[in-house]
């Protein structure tokens, strides 16, 4: 194992990455959390162990140079996937292959060369920057940790470059994080993530703490950096409009599983899974076309005790007996999408698009 680790590290440099080749492959990934009461309480009260299946068997791959997004409501497990990929959690089972090498549950030492190439941008720029460090030191830390510069002067020069790259000035290195606004702080987070010259960035809700005008600045910056540096993004968000704007391919998550994975243009023009349709229909309509929205029923169930069969069946207008008993697996639909839905597979759900049309597919309005 360790042989392959060093071998991969040495052979795969930035220039050799070819677009279109999977850089990350996730297979059967699961992460369970034990959320039981303390042992004594359990014994006294006769309670069973409680297991939260945060991520319950998902598969996807991300090609070099593309942006893959995971979207879903709170508690669907999207952030857990992000943490699993960067190694902040170990998986309960399944594999995460980074350029063909399984990185799941590796030791710190084995992960070190991978970690340089795999960085993360967090949601809250107020919590993810050390308030006691100068910006210069925050950004220099990865450069020093991975030995990417030969002299202190070179480190400083590189920090200046990075700050310029994210739209700040090299002089800002002397300041502390509190002297910056939310958007500028998120730029600092990006600069820090880029400091180790990564190929792959995991972005966990990078703009949801920001105002819209600032969000636009950050999204544009991320897009420019992707073009310039050939980065691959795993983008995690609950905001479908943002996801639509940035992604090449999108995975929709519901209660720890993928409901639908599709190229962005297909997902947004021709959503198949009833949950995807529901999500798309909840977006407030800026065009003010006055279309009637599907009344959304129910809430996300408790993930500790998810519904049997397809987890979405209690909210799904198309659910039948099979949906309640048998869990659907993602099946290809022919146009590059994967949909985990019995109704779609059997062809009993109409294929009508929702966006731009006031009409609601039959049954959905009920």
């Amino acid at each position: 194992m360790s042989e392959t680790a060093t071998a991969t590290h040495e052979t795969a440099t930035h220039d050799e990455l070819k677009p279109g080749v999977p850089i990350l492959e996730v297979k059967g990934l699961k992460r369970y959390f034990d959320v039981s009461a303390p042992w004594l309480n359990r014994v006294l009260e006769g309670q069973p162990k409680q297991i939260l299946k945060a991520v319950d068997g998902i598969d996807f791959e991300i090609k070099a140079g593309e942006t893959f997004s995971l979207v879903g409501e709170s508690g669907c497990g999207k952030s857990t996937v992000a943490k699993l990929i960067v190694g902040l959690h170990g998986p309960s089972s399944g594999s995460i292959e980074f350029e063909g090498m399984d990185i799941a549950g590796r030791s710190r030492k084995e992960m070190a060369p991978i970690r340089r190439r795999l960085q993360m941008i967090f949601q809250d720029p107020y919590a993810s920057l050390n308030p006691r460090w100068k910006v210069r030191d925050i950004i220099a830390e990865p450069i020093r940790a991975f030995d990417l510069a030969d002299s202190p002067d070179e480190v400083l020069e590189r920090v200046g470059q990075l700050l310029t790259q994210v739209g700040l000035s090299p002089a800002d290195g002397e300041k502390y994080p509190h002297e910056f606004s939310g958007g500028q702080r998120q730029r600092l987070s990006i600069a820090r993530a880029l400091a180790s010259e990564p190929d792959f960035l995991v972005c966990d809700e990078p703009t949801s703490a920001l105002d819209v005008s600032v969000q636009a600045q950050i999204l544009n910056l991320m897009r420019d950096l992707q073009k310039e540096l050939g980065l691959t993004y795993l983008f995690i968000s609950h905001n479908l409009a943002v996801v639509c704007h940035v992604s090449d391919r999108v995975g929709v998550m519901y209660l720890g599983r993928l409901a639908e994975v599709a190229p962005s243009d297909i997902l947004f023009s021709k959503p198949r899974h009833p949950y995807t349709r529901l999500l798309l229909d909840t977006i407030p309509d800026l065009e003010m076309s006055g279309r009637d929205r599907m009344p959304v029923a129910g809430e996300v169930p408790n993930p500790i005790n998810p519904p049997s069969g397809c987890a979405f069946h209690p909210r799904c207008p198309f659910a039948d007996d099979r949906c309640m008993s048998e869990r659907p697996e993602p099946k290809p639909t022919g146009d590059g999408a994967l949909v985990a839905c019995h109704g779609i597979e059997e062809g009993r759900i109409p294929d009508a698009p929702i966006i731009g049309k006031p009409a609601v597919p039959e049954g959905l309005g009920a």
Binding site: D211, V214, R223, P284, D285, L286, V296, I355
Partner: protein, 326 residues
């Protein structure tokens, strides 16, 4: 008697600090008619929540109303004492806040909080008040209300809690509800439910709403008129369709352009450079001038006041016809 339900005239809110006086709201005027939904939109720090807080009389000290007046139903309410204001709050003006968990008391059942509010403002008997509470919970779409009325807030999910808060705000049929970011803490699918509910209830009861939010989409769905705030002032106020579709103020234009929309796959989002100035450092002239792509001499010297342009009031010198410019 004024003909508007609520009238805010030249409102000015100040915060005395060690470094001097901060003017958080500067000369803001607007009105809300009966049964109307006024959306107030802006970025963090624009002063939209403060305006709402001033109307319900819950401005946190040291903040204070330093000028202007707030008139509700022909009666001035910004200078009332605590007790008098308490009577108005709840009966005439209801409030819905962002976080439904912190706006409910965790130690009392939902029913007790509802009946308390009802009995404070009406002379209903406890039994009657309880019936009304169950009725309200039914109205806001809570399943099994007879059982739920005796439960505590922690037994409700986020969306259900916000429904309870709406029931609380509407329990004595106020004329106006100030809703401060009512859906920001909720998931998108729940957000849609809550907006639909708020819209329906206010239409049924003829309640006017001041809807404070940063989400232009929510405003477009819900509001009749919208006020766009920037750095403590109103940049633009007018019918929602006009503001959303044909924004006049360069700030509104930029704001609309920076919202990603599904179906528009433009390479880049239009962005407004820079960020909102801090209150300590508001530029002279128009506060938007450092970020404005169309700023000219006058914007740096004189502060624009709202000018009527086709039914929309815009605080921008571009629309001043008498100016030498154009």
């Amino acid at each position: 008697m004024s003909k508007h339900l609520l009238e805010v005239k030249n409102l000015r809110i100040e915060f005395p600090t060690r470094k001097g006086l901060l003017t958080a709201i500067d000369d803001v005027s607007f009105h809300i008619d009966e049964g109307e939904v006024l959306g107030v939109v802006g970025e963090s720090g624009a002063g939209k929540s403060l305006t709402g807080a001033a109307i319900i009389g819950l401005l946190e000290p040291p903040g204070r109303v330093a000028g202007g007046e707030i008139v509700m139903n022909g009666r001035r309410i910004d200078n009332l004492g605590y007790e008098e204001m308490r009577k108005i709050r709840g009966r005439e003006i209801g409030a819905i806040f962002q976080d439904p968990l912190t706006s409910l008391n965790p130690l009392y059942t939902v029913g007790r909080q509802l009946t308390e509010t009802i009995m404070t403002h009406t002379d209903m008997t406890p039994t009657k008040a309880r019936e009304r509470a169950v009725e309200l919970l039914t109205e806001v779409g809570i399943p099994a209300p007879e059982k739920r009325v005796d439960q505590y807030p922690h037994q409700f999910s986020g969306g259900m809690r916000q429904r309870v808060v709406i029931a609380l705000a509407l329990c004595v049929n106020p004329k106006l509800v100030v809703a401060d970011e009512p859906t920001t803490a909720l998931d998108v699918s729940i957000q849609a439910q809550i907006i639909a509910l708020l819209k329906k209830l206010c239409r049924d009861h003829g309640t006017a709403v001041m809807l404070v939010t940063h989400d232009m989409g929510v405003i477009a769905e819900t509001a009749d008129r919208v006020a766009v705030m920037y750095a403590g002032r109103i940049a633009e106020i007018g019918p929602v369709r006009q503001v959303v579709k044909q924004a006049k103020h360069p700030y509104t234009e930029g704001l609309m352009g920076s919202i990603p929309v599904i179906g528009h796959t433009d390479e880049k989002l239009r962005q407004i450079e820079g960020s909102m100035p801090r209150l300590t450092n508001i530029p002279t002239g128009c506060a938007f001038n450092p970020r404005c792509p169309k700023a000219f001499d006058r914007c740096f010297k004189e502060r624009p006041d709202p000018i009527d342009v086709d039914g929309t009031e815009v605080a921008c010198w571009l629309y001043d016809k008498e100016a030498a410019h154009v």
